[in-house]
């Protein structure tokens, strides 16, 4: 049994969370370069130029990339051979608190959804735990913007709706909400599981690298097809018209009940801030 001190987790999360607010992932920057080549609209090219410049300014470490520094979302995989000394959940939230308070990030979390008072430190985080083999703790951190989150949707399709139904739902969701979600987008799609599993799959997909395709060639192909279809919508950078609406469509799937075909679309914006921690 390996022992891990909860304080180490706090430190690692604090570091990653503050870093990501200022440094957009390299893969997204490469996505912008690609978008510069693929974008045909002049306004669209202007927007992408601004995003590149914005990334360069933010990377100096004084001003965050985007003012919505997001909800902290964490996928925490705890190896079953690790013993954590201290309170894991408190340690995670402490890491988030340190980053948001100490690194001049915006505190966007309300304690209660209806009574709406700010907690002042961007906690609590949204945390998804799983127990996995091994003696490591692996954490995927995401800072998820609220504007793009609001354009996300879930549907319980009928199995007879089939692949066409899935396609239509994904493309319609981007078509309706894409312009408001700061395109170029990263579209996370969950297919299968049940009601809650499907939403979690979509979130995982939205926080995945845009350069990583689904391991199953069937879904990898579907990702490419959805991407082309989304770009054909003409929404373009910032929704002002153009040929690059999405940087990627990422799909995650899970087995499901014979009467079910759940589909969730979690929209992420160009500020697709995420990072991985292994302890």
């Amino acid at each position: 049994m390996r022992t891990l001190n909860a304080a180490q987790i706090t430190e690692a999360i604090a570091k990653t969370a503050s870093e990501k607010a200022y440094h957009i992932p390299e893969e997204i920057l490469r996505g912008f370069d690609q978008a510069m080549k693929n974008e045909k609209s002049e306004t669209g090219i202007d927007v992408i130029k601004q995003l590149k410049e914005n990334a360069a300014i933010a990377a100096k470490g004084e001003v965050p990339y985007c003012q919505d520094t997001g909800t902290a979302v964490l996928f925490v995989e705890v190896g079953q051979d690790v013993r954590i000394e201290g309170n894991l959940e408190d340690a995670i939230n402490e890491g988030v608190r340190k980053a948001y308070v100490g690194s001049f990030l915006r505190k966007s979390i309300y304690k209660d959804p209806l009574r709406r008072v700010n907690t002042g430190d961007n906690t609590p985080a949204v945390i998804h735990y799983s127990i996995v083999p091994g003696d490591k703790v692996r954490i995927v951190f995401g800072a998820k913007g609220g504007g793009s989150e609001n354009m996300s949707k879930l549907i319980m399709l009928k199995p007879s709706d089939g692949i066409e139904g899935v396609k239509n739902f994904v493309i319609d969701t981007v078509s309706q909400g894409g312009a408001n979600a700061c395109p170029p987008l990263v579209v996370g799609v969950g297919i299968g599981g049940n009601f809650e599993k499907c939403a979690i799959l979509a979130k995982k997909a939205a926080l995945r690298s845009i350069e990583e395709r689904n391991a199953d060639p069937f879904y990898a192909e579907l990702e490419e097809e959805f991407k082309t279809k989304c770009n054909n919508l003409g929404i373009g950078p910032m929704g002002l018209g153009g040929t690059v609406t999405v940087l990627a469509v990422n799909i995650e799937v899970y087995s499901c009940h014979l009467v079910a075909l759940p589909v969730a679309v979690n929209i992420n914006c160009h500020a697709a801030r995420h990072g991985e921690i292994v302890l």
Binding site: L51, E53, N54, Y65, D68, R106, G234
Partner: protein, 184 residues
């Protein structure tokens, strides 16, 4: 698609000449306000009280910035989604507001008010918080301090890069721009 350098507050003829797709570098004085501040402004207008800023020719920026570092005036300051302000914007246009800066689509009532009142809707690049920070040279809370990041700030801006996304001829770049590039 023309390019302009304009100064805020906006003159009637400046707002009226702009058309969707035009690029504007805006300098001068603008005000920040989000949902809660809008609600209060409209409430004070309803009570025949003076709003906290002169609305005539005013440009309002929908933004909730990150906190400034020491010695800085403001943090990252990109636009927020406009639709949450749709309920209040027509009233402010009737009172003389000439420009709105934000991101995302507007509803028909807002678009109609822009035509009736000869006002303009500018799109700023969503998420470009660090870039826009550089255009803001001064920031001062002038009302509703209790709202924190949502308090009304008076900003001085220099060459704030904007694109006209809604104009007083009823143009909407979210519709027209997309139409141009959509592949059926």
């Amino acid at each position: 698609m023309a390019e302009y350098r304009l100064t805020a507050p906006l003159k009637e003829e400046d707002a009226a000449k702009l058309r969707i797709g035009d690029k504007v570098l805006l300098s001068g004085v603008i005000y920040t306000a989000r949902d809660a501040a809008h609600k209060r402004i409209v409430e004070s207008l309803d009570k025949n009280e003076k709003p906290p800023m002169d609305l005539k020719g005013s440009v309002i920026y929908y933004v909730g910035p990150t906190p400034p570092r020491e010695g800085k005036v403001i943090g990252a300051a990109g636009p927020t989604t406009a639709m949450r302000m749709d309920a209040y914007a027509p009233r402010l246009m009737q009172e003389g507001m000439k420009g709105m800066i934000a991101k995302g689509k507007r509803n028909d009532a807002v678009k109609k008010a822009m035509v009736d009142c000869k006002a303009v809707y500018f799109g700023a690049t969503g998420g470009a918080g660090a870039l826009i920070n550089r255009c803001i040279t001064k920031a001062e809370v002038i009302a509703y301090e209790d709202l924190g990041p949502e308090a009304i700030r008076k900003l001085e801006v220099v060459d704030f890069p904007l694109i006209v996304v809604g104009d007083c001829a009823g143009g909407d770049l979210y519709i027209e721009g997309r139409k141009k590039w959509e592949k059926k």
